[in-house]
């Protein structure tokens, strides 16, 4: 029995996105598709212990789910939604399960691509996009997603219900956007995957294991995106970027404390992930003018290649941040650029850059602004000003791990001044 359950769970995690995507295409409804798939899994759990686990468990579930879907559609096929139901019934009439069918049902890559684009449609808010993507393509259950995002389960369930309702009511299409729309639609898919990764990576609060799981899930989704659209260099770069960040997962937290890139034990970096990341970066960069993920991946690659902090190619990193600023003039990138200048052209130049960007006063409430200033002042051996900046950063930071880090730096500076 334990075997049956673990096989079913493995199929769910690995294949449910694929199965669901096909069911949604045929039924035109997320709810019916989910209902059919759940029934197929229940049937598996009920019959496998007696009849044995089929050779192709995933194929069995797929075929069973498609049969269940016919039942679900027939049952719902009352006067409500007549016309649309008729269309599904007509499509289903031509549907007769057979040995070849499993294969064709399992290998319809466009289905998952359609599903990604629908889940990440800009007409849905980003929180809904993330929840829906994890739920449908990620094979995560609602409680799992709620736990990973530290949200009450009803809140998340409500978010998913609303998103599905909007897809239905507003007729958000279930299709891969035409080529002329791709430049505006693909970035929202990439953004959702990267946000899922970042949620697992940066917010180092809550259940650590669940969070590393989110990173793996994002990597898996990016891999699917690369498989489905292999000619798109930004997809490869996104995957590369995540591999390169992920390679430092064991080095960046020590005993619950954040360890900066400079202070990390580089022998803890996952070399397999780095190799995979570097190969992907090369492939992504081979194609002309780099987009934002290619630039970020190139920066991460330069860090990953430095065996010691001193070997870091800061001048090139500063150059890459400058190009990145052209794509995305955000304050966090501007700060990173300033830090790279501090590390390459000189600390004074970096400090001047940071102070210039803060001259308008709009960064005053941004903790990273003060943290970055503090770090450069510390390096410049101006402890009083550094301590003041750390204090302001600490007053603004909300994440516990980041607060601990700032607090540690501040206490260290205070100790130094007592000694001096």
């Amino acid at each position: 029995m334990a075997d049956v359950r673990s096989v079913a769970e493995a199929v769910f995690r690995q294949e449910s996105g694929r199965i669901l995507a096909g069911l949604i295409r045929i039924s035109g409804s997320f709810d019916r598709a989910e209902e059919a798939m759940q029934e197929a899994f229940s049937t598996a759990l009920a019959t496998w212990p007696e009849k044995g686990i089929p050779e192709s468990a995933a194929g069995w579930i797929t075929t069973t789910a498609h049969r269940k879907l016919i039942d679900v559609v027939r049952r719902d096929n009352i006067w409500r939604e007549k016309q649309t139901s008729l269309r599904y019934a007509a499509e289903l009439a031509g549907f007769s399960p057979g040995p070849d069918l499993e294969d064709s049902l399992m290998n319809f890559p466009d289905d998952r691509l359609r599903l990604i684009f629908t889940c990440c449609h800009p007409a849905l808010n980003q929180e809904a996009q993330i929840a829906l993507t994890l739920r449908t393509l990620g094979g995560l259950t609602t409680p799992e997603i709620a736990k990973a995002f530290l949200l009450p389960e009803p809140t998340l369930a409500q978010r998913i219900v609303r998103a599905k309702r909007k897809i239905q009511e507003a007729h958000i299409p279930y299709e891969v956007p035409p080529t002329h729309l791709l430049p505006e639609r693909l970035p929202s898919v990439q953004a959702v995957i990267y946000l899922i990764f970042n949620e697992g990576y940066t917010a180092a609060s809550g259940d650590q294991l669940v969070r590393i799981d989110l990173c793996s899930e994002a990597i898996r989704l990016a891999r699917v995106l690369c498989d489905l659209m292999p000619a798109e260099p930004e997809n490869l770069a996104l995957l590369a970027l995540m591999f390169l960040h992920h390679s430092r997962r064991y080095a960046r937290i020590r005993r619950g404390e954040l360890v900066t890139l400079e202070e990390q034990d580089r022998s803890l970096w996952d070399q397999t992930a780095i190799r995979e990341g570097l190969t992907l970066v090369e492939k992504a960069l081979a194609s002309g003018a780099p987009g934002p993920y290619q630039l970020q991946a190139a920066i991460a690659a330069l860090h990953a290649q430095a065996r010691t902090p001193e070997q870091t190619d800061w001048p090139q990193i500063a150059e890459l941040y400058e190009k990145l600023l052209e794509h995305n003039p955000s304050r966090v990138i501007a700060l990173n650029h300033a830090v790279a200048i501090a590390m390459s052209a000189g600390l004074e130049a970096g400090l001047k850059r940071i102070d210039d960007s803060g001259a308008t006063g709009e960064l005053n409430d941004y903790y990273l602004f003060h943290a970055a200033r503090a770090d450069i002042l510390r390096r410049l051996n101006r402890p009083t000003e550094a301590a003041e900046a750390y204090g302001r950063a600490l007053a603004l930071a909300t994440n516990q791990v980041e607060r601990n880090f700032l607090d540690r730096r501040l206490r260290h500076l205070n100790r130094l001044s007592e000694l001096g």
């Binding site: 006067w79 507003a170 007729h171 958000i172």
Partner: protein, 135 residues
């Protein structure tokens, strides 16, 4: 599916300059003609400015009438389109081309699917028979 596109823009006292107003009109005319040629045009019309708006609310069975629009917002409802589109994506493409500066300034377009009213639903409920609807 029919989508209603509600045009919101910032009203300017005195309205648009003549040249801008003309440009605006030409933009709408061209878009409406194109939609009509494609066979998806249902309706479109500008609204008189909110200074002409009257709001009616029934309270305790009595109609309470007030001057002005029901909500004071930064941008005001200025006109609408109804187009028959395949999906939200098609509706978004059309909406993005609607000139939004009807009464001055930039603005935005809100897209809402129209649900339609089934023809004589009571008959359907009473007899259980399918009746052709327009939903």
């Amino acid at each position: 599916m029919r989508y209603m596109m509600l045009i919101y823009s910032k009203e300017q006292p005195g309205g648009l300059e003549q040249e801008a107003s003309q440009r605006n009109y030409v933009g709408h005319r061209a878009l409406m003609d194109e939609a009509a040629r494609k066979g998806i045009f249902v309706a479109a019309e500008p609204l008189a400015p909110t200074s002409s708006a009257t709001t009616v609310r029934v309270e305790n069975g009595k109609a309470v009438v007030t001057d002005g629009p029901f909500a004071e917002t930064k941008e005001q409802l200025a006109g609408y389109y109804i187009l028959n589109c395949e999906s939200l994506d098609e509706a978004i493409e059309w909406a993005a081309r609607i000139p939004t500066m009807c009464k001055g300034g930039e603005g935005c377009v809100e897209i809402r699917p129209l649900l339609g009213i089934p023809v004589r639903p009571e008959l359907e409920v009473a007899t259980g028979q399918a009746v052709a609807g327009n939903g």
